[in-house]
Symmetry: C2
DNA sequence: TTGTAAGCGTTATCAT
DNA sequence: ATGATAACGCTTACAA
């Protein structure tokens, strides 16, 4: 069995009390240089490490934070997690990641598990299935620190970190309109998610500002994480087979964009010659995949960083916080070298 | 502040002792039905949850295991982690993931951090940079449970879970040879990694079995996670520009295969018409990406499951383990519908 | 059937 | 400068 050395062991070995050892290790001023040296060297030699669990119990905090996301196999989230980690590491926090796989039930279980005192706070991006948020509201009402990012909810008053989805979607749509396209389809994730609503609004606003009427049949929502490729393929098929088929697509998500590209490829529809495409994506691949693909990139890493900073502030603030920040970070649009060709004049 | 309810609170409120409450909550037989009911209902009402940290301290175990991988933004690893999670969840363990980003230093820090008693065991896949493994050896020698998977080391006697990389590579290479290709390049990750060595051996064996001489200049190793696209592009460029250029490529890794496909695409080299490609990949995309791409898929999910099962057995076994398993799971080869065309006759 | 007390590893508050 | 003790939340001998 693995039995690591404790302060007690050191005390016994050196004929000191545990308190003396503890103080020596923490470099207290009230310990003689000799004793300090003795203890520190012994600890060094036997590779003493304070037991973080005992510390957690004493300090009533675990110095770990929980991350609740739908999926880590997603460029946006893995980049956001990298941002989270980078800050956590420096501020002495562990990060515990849990995946909901877009399931409401699973999200609840994860949150319960994490929040029952094994983490000091939660960083949350809602699952696609989640439409009730009592499991967060209850915790938050009891004063448990929660920060939402990306897929947020308006029903809880706390810090939130989001990309400017409205503007990103507006720019993406405007980009297509500028290139002469007017029949622009919109692929998005579950309709009730904050990100979907904001992106839809940006899309609609760009259409409206250009006096293009909104066409309901151009909107395709895909809900489930696991089946996304199949769902997307169906959506794309129905778009390209429709009578008034779109000349361009705006896909509002990482997996959506990649899957759309794949589906189009499968159907032998060339991008951008047959149909133009602008999409949200954080994939390092998608930028390379199609040199004519204009991409809206979310500041995922920075969002993760900002979110955990706010969370740690929340956790470490002595007094209740009254003012909640909603941080909105700008998306970036990468217009590819060869850009999108002008739309062909209508026949 | 968030102050969850404790056994002490319940005891005080109900005029009982903490031990009675504790026993009632755990459904002990030596507690009267009345008391039990009283306690359980009170606990229910106030949403009592045992403090996992206190439990950890008492039981001298955290019921959490640490996962040390290079990168979660990798199809193989995210699938393996899903497998790990699926078992952990059922067996009552938390999973703490840490990424080395292929850095030796970072790996050491992560392991130190995790092992100093915040996890009960470690699931490890070595970073590409790691060539010394003292940080694991020290722990293992002290009896700390460690299971290696995927990128393993021979220097530590413990359970290991790997794919049959040799056979997978052999099959991939043979697949190309069967289609008539004889000039087969091999793209792989850091040369000293166990997976690279095994895959290389499989590749070499297939060549030898078919009386094809080994060509050193056909071997390209890529080391660093972060710069992999650039490295790959350079490797591919040098291959297609070499005087005795290969007619086929066997890429031995997920990112390698995708990046290779992208690089070839960028250089306007058509797969499989200009050059054939067979690659290891667990990407759900790559299968769709190029219908002529034959793919060797690792049983990532199952590997994760098996690895954590072994680890939990190790953790929960009362007596020292003397026999260590090396589990080898078979890879699957997916020959695409349109398959690889026969190589053109040499000019 | 229930209560008391010790212990898990650590630190803070008192002594001495 | 150092030691004894209590406390963090929980479980479990041991008493009652």
């Amino acid at each position: 069995m693995y039995e690591p050395i404790t302060i007690k062991d050191i005390a016994k070995a050196l004929g000191l009390s545990t308190s003396t050892v503890s103080r020596a290790l923490r470099g207290s001023h009230e310990i003689s240089a000799d004793t300090k040296k003795l203890v520190v060297e012994y600890a060094e030699q036997f590779n003493y490490r304070p037991n973080p669990i005992a510390l957690s119990l004493k300090e009533r905090r675990s110095r770990s934070i929980g991350v609740v996301v739908c999926e880590i196999a997603n460029n946006y989230f893995s980049q956001a997690i990298n941002g989270i980690e980078s800050v956590a590491y420096n501020r002495g926090y562990h990060v515990i990641i849990s995946q909901s796989h877009e399931s409401y039930e699973r999200e609840i279980v994860n949150v319960e598990h994490l929040a029952s005192r094994s983490v000091d706070g939660l960083l949350v991006s809602l699952s696609a299935e989640t439409d009730k948020i009592d499991h967060f509201k209850n915790l938050h009402d009891k004063g448990f620190p929660i920060v939402f990012f990306d897929r947020i909810t308006d029903e809880i008053e706390t810090h939130k970190v989001v990309a400017d989805n409205y503007q990103g979607a507006y720019n993406a749509t405007q980009h297509l309109i500028d290139a002469g396209y007017r029949k622009i389809a919109h692929l998005s994730s579950a309709a009730h998610l904050s990100i979907s609503i904001e992106r839809m609004n940006g899309y609609k606003a760009a259409l409206a500002d250009n006096k293009i009427s909104f066409n309901e049949s151009y909107i395709k929502n895909c809900n489930h994480g696991g089946m996304i490729y199949k769902e997307l393929e169906d959506a794309v098929r129905s778009l390209i087979n429709s009578k008034d088929k779109p000349t361009a697509i705006f896909s509002a998500g990482d997996k959506l964009t990649v899957s759309c590209l794949l589906a189009l490829n499968k159907f032998k529809v060339k991008v951008p010659d047959d149909i133009a495409l602008v999409g949200f994506s954080n994939s390092p691949l998608v930028e390379l995949m199609n040199p004519s693909l204009t991409v809206v990139k979310q500041p995922a890493f920075e969002m993760g960083q900002k979110a955990i900073e706010l969370l740690i502030n929340l956790i470490e603030s002595k007094r209740p916080v009254t003012e909640f920040e909603k941080v909105v970070l700008q998306t970036e649009i990468f217009e590819r070298n060869s850009s999108i060709p002008k739309a062909k004049p209508k026949k």
